[in-house]
């Protein structure tokens, strides 16, 4: 029999029953869309329009529409690509790694985080595909038989490894997310009134009836997928980091990149989860499921990964000096004091300094502060990639070719446009899919709800006054 210590904070509050959970989560799927949701969707669709227009310009007139030049041949596009892929890390981390670490608080955020992962990876994929110039030939990156033409996939290139890493990650995340949705889709199907809802959720739930056999298979599949996903959390950003680190460009070629990119990805992923969940919990009134305890736990992950990233920044700077390699030293001096100093210091402020505020318990548990800091982290992580990519390229070995990069309106349009794409997908998800994993929350209800909490108090430690009236720990 599992035992839960009475000093643990409850993860489901408000004395919910199993039926309440079904009601609270399904309500949003079943009710008519409200005005706020429709307004948000309209804004997102507008930006999706901006995206489509920018894509049209890029494809019709070519990559010349972007701000790239001969010296800075990679800038805005790859920055956005890495930024989005990084954001797409939290979902799998929550569903696989936190599962392995038995973190029960993952139950009410994993569904939305996984959805966010999938949408973020879709947005990320836009950039390398568009940068090809002729995306209809995108399949050339695959190692197809040579009868298709002159196709030589370069297996020495980390860009090709990226193709495999990200497509694998996307497929596994998608399957994992969908499998988790099946039992909840069945719940909604069983409750559905209208014929369309009945048919659509009926098809989505793949004939799930919740028999013992179904659950047994379900658990086996989940376990296998969790096992497969775990190395994927590490591998994707490791390989993204190798896009840079395998080269011999000062500021790019540094061995700490793989784990440091992974930490940064989790950092930015959690920031985005917080940004989205704080809004979702408010609009959908899910305060009893996404509690302050959840927010605080995520903030702790932010402070951990933010500090790892901070240590990595300082390590890079220190070793650049220590190495005695002139070019390496210059690359870092140029980052901090060169023409892009503002990007470097934005990165430092947002990524290293602001998350340290979470050492204060009151800030960790303040929704407003958390929301603001999560936005700071999102911005900071964008600047991190911009700093790494652009400052290392814009002053290369040949001073006569030094140049600056400035984005065109199309560059900005595509970036802002992917946010439109992202939020369109997320809003559709939030409306038509259950945003919280109903049956997983039900599995922790007995052990981790406020009700279970108080009974433990009286049954286990009634005569221990310190346990009954203990001050909240931090």
């Amino acid at each position: 029999m599992q035992h839960v210590s009475p000093i643990r904070e409850p993860l489901v509050t408000g004395g919910k029953t199993y039926h309440d959970i079904t009601q609270d989560i399904s309500r949003h799927v079943e009710s008519k869309p409200n005005m706020r949701w429709a307004a948000a969707l309209a804004v997102s669709l507008f930006f999706l329009g901006v995206f489509l227009w920018s894509v049209y310009r890029t494809l019709w007139y070519g990559i010349g529409e972007w701000g790239l030049n001969k010296t800075v041949g990679w800038a805005w596009d790859i920055t956005n690509f890495v930024w989005w892929v990084g954001i797409g890390h939290a979902g799998t981390l929550i569903s696989a790694i936190l599962l392995l670490f038995r973190q029960k608080w993952r139950s009410s955020i994993n569904r939305a985080a996984e959805a966010m992962t999938i949408f973020a990876v879709i947005c990320a994929a836009m950039f390398p595909v568009l940068h090809m110039g002729r995306p209809w030939l995108a399949y050339w990156v695959l190692p197809l038989p040579n009868t298709f033409g002159s196709l030589w996939a370069n297996f020495n290139s980390p860009l090709l490894w990226d193709v495999f890493a990200i497509s694998t990650y996307f497929s596994v995340s998608l399957v994992f997310w969908y499998i988790g949705l099946v039992p909840d889709f069945a719940t909604i199907r069983d409750r559905a009134k209208g014929p369309i809802a009945k048919t659509v959720y009926g098809m989505l739930s793949l004939g799930w009836v919740g028999s013992a056999k179904h659950w047994s298979r379900y658990e086996t599949v989940s376990l296998i997928l969790a096992g497969v996903s775990t190395p994927l959390v590490l591998s994707v950003h490791t390989i993204v980091s190798m896009d840079f680190a395998t080269s011999v460009i000062p500021g790019w070629h540094t061995t700490i990149f793989p784990p440091y990119f992974v930490a940064g990805a989790i950092f930015s992923g959690f920031a985005m989860v917080l940004t989205l969940m704080i809004i979702t919990r408010k609009t959908f009134k899910l305060e009893d499921y996404i509690t302050l305890e959840h927010v605080e736990s995520m903030n702790k992950v932010i402070i951990l990964t933010g500090s790892i990233v901070g240590v990595a920044y300082i390590t890079e700077f220190f070793i650049a000096w220590y190495s005695g390699v002139e070019y390496e030293q210059y690359a870092f001096i140029n980052r901090a004091t060169g023409p892009y100093w503002w990007a470097y210091w934005s990165m430092m402020t947002c990524n290293v300094i602001t998350p340290q505020l979470f050492w204060f318990r009151s800030i960790r548990r303040s929704l407003t502060a958390t929301f603001i800091i999560s936005i700071f982290v999102n911005i900071g992580m964008w600047f991190e990639r911009f700093v790494i990519i652009v400052t290392s390229l814009h002053r290369d070995y040949l001073p006569s070719s030094w140049a600056m990069f400035s984005p065109t309106i199309i560059d900005i349009g595509i970036y802002v446009g992917t946010m439109g794409l992202f939020f369109t997908l997320f809003l559709l998800f939030a409306k038509y899919f259950p945003v919280i994993n109903m049956f997983e929350v039900k599995t922790i209800l007995k052990s981790s709800s406020g009700v279970a909490h108080s009974t433990h108090h009286t049954s286990m430690h009634a005569n221990d006054p310190q346990l009954v009236n203990h001050p909240k720990h931090d």
Binding site: M1, Q2, H3, V4, S5, I7, R8, L100, F101, L234, T238, M242, A245, T246, S247, V248, H253, T254, T255, I256, F257, P258, P259, K300, S307, I308, V311, A312, T315, E316, I319, Y322, S323, G324, V325, W359, M460, Q466, L467, H470, P471, H473, D474
Partner: protein
């Protein structure tokens, strides 16, 4: 109320630890005598003259071994502290029953600190420089000197005697202080109960993790990276940490099993072992990940200023280290990976015991490969000096470790998550 559980080390066992130290010292002295008498013949065979270096003396070999074992055992000790603090800040429940083992590992820290500071400073006091650290040679920094090395001279702001010594003292002072402070709460909790010690431990742990986040990398740069003075790698701090961490996990798991088989730790069951096994499995892979990332990036870029480190170890010195290079991977990755893959293996004591012993040996070898090429070049070996030094350190470590294990109850009777750990079920 859960009863205390006191470990009693029989006289015979503690004598055995002392004998280990004694035997180690005898072998060490014997090895030194053998090397002194057979020294000249040895160095012809390896063509030391060809590389422009003098032949390695018994003194350098002794120093290298002292350093290797100090770094290795100190690492295991500090990981005991590190992992305890991780349990606190993560609100871990399952690990409460094994936490006294973790705490006891840190008892070696003062001994490791004294030995390391002496091994670093004594040669400098008596001979002016330390044979392990090329950068302690004054002539490298004198512009007019034939030995002048602009690269090393450029590192003088970091690699200089006063700063280095201050750092080394600071690492040990901080680590020992935090270990003592945390242990004090833990023992007081046994006596008095209540949540105040637990709450305080969480705060101490968070502080230590910040300290360790910085000092783990710094100490790795100081103690290991600076041996190969020209070389640099941003990953190196985390690489050393990964190696320490998995060694510490293996030591913990092995101790828990040995205690259990000796009739202690009755409440520890297959579920706890399973979790420890998962940690050993996962962090063997983590070490490999860090190893691979560092190696692959340097190998791929193939830049002269950094690739030398691996060419020395892969095929350098006539292939002297090649077998260790590959054994390192087999023993520390392939073996634990394949053996601990299944659920059953992680729940069986015999499997875990074999894997932990192999890993403990394997990571000693990993540190051997980090340290020896830089200090002894192609003239390292596995002889009486290696065996003697390792045995002496193991004996010293066990004396301190068992001191830590016996000085408090093996079960932290008033820990607020004790019940969770007792009823732990994976």
């Amino acid at each position: 109320m859960i009863a205390e559980e006191r470990l009693i080390i029989p006289k015979k066992t503690s004598n055995r630890f002392l004998m280990m130290i004694g035997l180690g010292l005898v072998l060490l002295v014997l090895g030194i005598i053998l090397m002194m008498t057979a020294g000249p013949a040895h160095h012809d065979a390896h063509g030391a003259a060809a590389t422009g270096h003098h032949a390695v003396t018994w003194y350098e070999r002794l120093m290298s071994n002292l350093w290797l074992n100090s770094v290795y055992f100190t690492g295991i000790a500090v990981v005991g502290l590190f992992f305890t603090t991780v349990q606190y800040v993560a609100y871990a429940g399952w690990s409460v029953l094994i936490k006294r083992v973790l705490e006891a590992l840190a008892y070696f820290l003062p001994v490791g600190g004294v030995i390391m500071i002496l091994v670093f400073l004594l040669p400098i006091i008596f001979t002016g420089h330390n044979p392990l650290f090329h950068w302690t040679d004054h002539s490298l920094y004198e512009v007019d000197n034939a030995n002048y090395d602009p690269i090393i001279a450029g590192k003088a702001g970091f690699l200089n005697l006063p700063f280095y010594t201050i750092r080394m003292v600071a690492y040990f002072a901080l680590w020992i202080f935090f270990a003592w402070w945390l242990r004090k709460q833990s023992v007081a909790e046994d006596l008095n109960g209540g949540l105040s010690y637990y709450d305080k431990s969480i705060r101490i742990s968070a502080m230590f993790l910040v300290v360790f986040g910085v000092t783990s990398s710094l100490s790795a740069w100081d103690w290991v990276l600076s041996i190969d003075t020209h070389w640099f790698s941003t990953m190196f701090g985390w690489y050393v940490f990964a190696s320490w961490f998995i060694s510490g996990l293996a030591a913990t798991t092995l101790t828990v099993i040995l205690l259990k088989q000796a009739g202690y730790m009755k409440m520890v069951n297959a579920n706890h072992l399973h979790d420890l096994g998962k940690f050993v499995f996962a962090f063997s892979i983590f070490w490999t990940y860090i190893w691979f990332s560092q190696f692959m990036l340097i190998w791929y870029a193939n830049m002269p200023e950094e690739v030398g480190y691996f060419t020395e170890r892969l095929g350098g010195y006539g292939g002297h280290y090649t077998w260790i290079f590959f054994t390192n991977l087999v023993v520390n990755f392939a073996f634990p990976f394949l053996v601990l893959m299944t659920r059953d293996a992680k729940r069986q004591m015999i499997m875990l015991k074999i894997v932990c012993i192999v890993i403990l040996f394997g990571h000693w070898l990993d540190f051997y490969l980090m340290i020896m090429p830089g200090t002894l070049r192609g003239e390292s070996g596995f002889g009486l000096i290696e065996l003697g030094t390792a045995l002496t350190f193991l004996g010293l470590f066990l004396v301190r470790f068992t001191k830590g294990l016996t000085s408090a109850s093996l079960v932290p009777v008033n820990h607020p998550f004790l019940e969770e750990s007792i009823h732990h079920h994976v």
